[in-house]
């Protein structure tokens, strides 16, 4: 194994890792928004909204994320949506993980004991007041870990946008293979950096979970 090469090339990979982190942060934020909206739609009293929510989840989860990225980036221009690769990557990944987060959030919300809702309603709290001050605070605690799992999948999923030439970790590794002919070293470096990002994210999730734990 050519460790000298790995050390020399490391700064370039760090730059690529930063792109991966940006992709993750932006699409993660977008995913949380899509997830919140999706969960709200799926739990809505309106059948139309419930249908939209269910369709979103089943379409996104029923097709490969790579196809979704391709449709937006390569298919977009055909219908007048012209995006930079990075933008298309963020949007496609965010919209994709949002569908999984929809289910995570919905699951956390409906797993709050029904008695909680009944107790709040019998005191006279409205549906909204009950949701805001009784259901949601408990659901948020329940969703931290499963959302962490979604984020973990998202970070690894950012590798897909290498296919539309976003210069993130995976694309960078492939590119340097062309000049160094050392695929083992290049992919190993990329892999180690993914692991580092995921490790730190995991620490963050653990910290949040502990902080939010019920007394």
């Amino acid at each position: 194994m050519d460790t000298d090469l790995m050390i020399r090339i490391f700064p370039f990979f760090l730059k690529a890792a930063w792109v991966t982190i940006q992709l993750s942060l932006l699409s993660g934020a977008m995913g949380l928004m899509c997830g919140a909206l999706g969960a709200a739609a799926r739990l809505s009293r309106s059948p139309a909204l419930r249908f939209i929510g269910a369709t979103y989840v089943s379409v996104i989860r029923g097709t490969p994320a790579l196809i979704q990225v391709f449709i937006l980036y390569f298919g977009g221009p055909q219908v007048g949506i012209q995006l930079e690769a990075f933008e298309a990557g963020v949007l496609a990944l965010g919209f994709n993980i949002g569908a999984y987060m929809t289910e995570t959030m919905r699951g956390a919300i409906i797993s709050v004991d029904r008695g909680q809702n009944e107790a709040a309603r019998t005191l006279g709290l409205s549906r909204f007041e009950t949701f805001r001050s009784v259901t949601l605070p408990q659901a948020l605690r329940l969703m931290i870990r499963p959302l962490g799992v979604n984020i973990n999948a998202l970070i690894k999923g950012t590798a897909l946008v290498a296919a539309i030439s976003v210069v993130e970790l995976t694309y960078t590794a492939q590119r340097y293979i062309g000049s160094t002919y050392k695929p083992f070293e290049m992919f190993l470096l990329a892999g180690l950096l993914y692991m580092a990002i995921i490790y730190v994210t995991g620490l963050g999730v653990n910290w949040l979970d502990r902080r939010a734990a019920l007394k």
Binding site: Q116, G124, E129, S133
Partner: protein, 255 residues
């Protein structure tokens, strides 16, 4: 004290498909009265209780709280506002306490008054102190529900309901989930409420308690009120065979 009932249930019926869980039940409860509803499980007693605040809506029939029809047919939005206002007057205590686990005892008690009655933090704290004093748990004001015993949880749940200053209190098997040695402390709180002439409707499996505390006892079976009357009559000299059978089974273990 007026003679007009505070709770008036008129021809209540409820069915799930072809299964009738309540069949034409009428019940009037006057101010300060304490009514126990007893009967085998599945007899519809909890369903009847939960119909009073429209937690389990009736299929037909009316529920009135003084001059207000609780289960009024209204468009969704108006109904929501209506029922939320009505429920502030009807306290409810559940078998499984349903304390809010993310809030301490003080906040469990003051959440609804603060939100719905616009009282200040100082007033709310005073209210929590007042209610906790009543149930003898002032020293637990900063505790979280998970740090309390079952009996303490239920006493806090009673304090939480009382903090809304309800006109009537509903108890849905309030002591059924408690260890036997913890039942008494909850019963004591309920007895004390009885002495303060709180109107109460109590679904219970505890015949001894019903006998001691209640003015009237309803025996329900298969969705109907089989027999009702003062506890002396129902427990000592029931007229109906079904009541006798039920009581025989239930009183055997007790005393």
């Amino acid at each position: 004290m007026t003679d007009r009932p505070i709770i008036d249930i008129r021809n209540a019926a409820k069915s799930y498909g072809s299964l009738e869980v309540l069949k034409d039940i009428s019940l009037q409860v006057k101010r300060g009265q304490i009514v126990a509803i007893i009967g085998p499980s599945g007899s519809g007693k909890s369903t009847l209780l939960r119909a009073i605040n429209d937690l389990d809506p009736l299929t037909s029939g009316e529920v009135w709280l003084e001059d207000t029809q609780v289960n009024k047919a209204l468009p969704t939005r108006q109904y929501e506002a209506h029922i939320n206002a009505v429920r502030q007057n009807i306290g409810m205590v559940f078998q499984h306490f349903n304390l809010f686990p993310h809030l301490n005892v003080r906040d469990n008690i003051t959440l609804a008054p603060k939100m719905l009655k616009g009282i200040s933090k100082t007033e709310a704290d005073a209210l929590a102190v007042e209610q906790l004093n009543k149930v003898g748990l002032l020293d637990r004001i900063d505790y979280y529900p998970s740090q309390l015993s079952g009996g303490q949880k239920q006493r806090v749940a009673i304090a939480r309901a009382l903090a809304m200053k309800p006109k009537v209190m509903l108890f849905d098997e309030a002591t059924s989930a408690l260890d036997p040695e913890l039942v008494e402390e909850v019963n004591l709180v309920m007895k004390q409420l009885a002495e303060e002439h709180m109107t109460m409707i109590i679904v219970t499996h505890e015949m001894g308690f019903a006998q001691d505390v209640c003015d009237r006892v309803l025996f329900m079976d298969q969705g109907v009120v089989v027999e009702e009357g003062p506890p002396e009559v129902i427990f000592k000299n029931p007229a109906n065979e079904r009541t006798r059978n039920f009581l025989r089974k239930h009183l055997k273990g007790q005393n």
